[in-house]
Symmetry: C2
Subunit: 152 residues, 2 copies
Amino acid sequence: MPDSPIDPFRAFMDYRWDGVSLLPYKEDGAAPFKSVTRQVLFHDPDLKCELRYFEVAPGGHSTLERHEHVHGVMILRGAAEVLVGTEVRAVKTFDLVHIPPLTWHQFRTTGREPMGFLCMVNAERDRPQLPSEADLAEMRSHPAVAVFLAAK
Amino acid sequence: MPDSPIDPFRAFMDYRWDGVSLLPYKEDGAAPFKSVTRQVLFHDPDLKCELRYFEVAPGGHSTLERHEHVHGVMILRGAAEVLVGTEVRAVKTFDLVHIPPLTWHQFRTTGREPMGFLCMVNAERDRPQLPSEADLAEMRSHPAVAVFLAAK
């Protein structure tokens, strides 16, 4: 996280931004995911949310998780299949995804391009929860979700 | 502002989003601006910020103003000249702009395309202030700012 004042102008080039570090998706190795990077675009004591950019390589996916806090997501590049609760939907550049509280969700790239998305989130938030075997069984009782979760 | 639950999936088409209203830039007619529209992409009691999309037609500009609250901006389409404090900078798609507290700022389109930007802002925030004649004189003492403010 940047401790210095934020530069008013930070130029974009090739899905990187001036002065913004390319970070691992998760700090620890506990949660399963594949081929995801993270960049924190806005993190400011005067803003009560953060804006992050996540990028998932072709064939990659974010962690299947849920939490009390909400996500406001905009796809910035590429295409994905997204699970929100019991719904699976194909999304593309500039589509919006809203993840309500305590709702299982996961992003998977589709196609040969990386898939990148902006994610707005409260700066103060709870830690994600991972599904138990019972949670997974419940999810798999929904046919579209079972197909989504079986994808490699 | 939407009072109903937010649809988890809202598709993008031609710089509009499913279920998102096209709004006037400002509710009142008091502040000067030209050819700007507003769409609220995320407004949710569980999120402490809002994400808005503003679009400025060719030749248009936002209000010259300042306020205590901070803006986290990403250009989404087109090109602009942006004033932040005493700095004027050309920006283009996906560049980031951070507006610190109580800092005069204005966006002007450049080129023949509309210019659109995302703006993240605290849900609870103060009202913008407009410059006095003395404020404008001080701003114009900076040559680049004087040129920017003289543009039509």
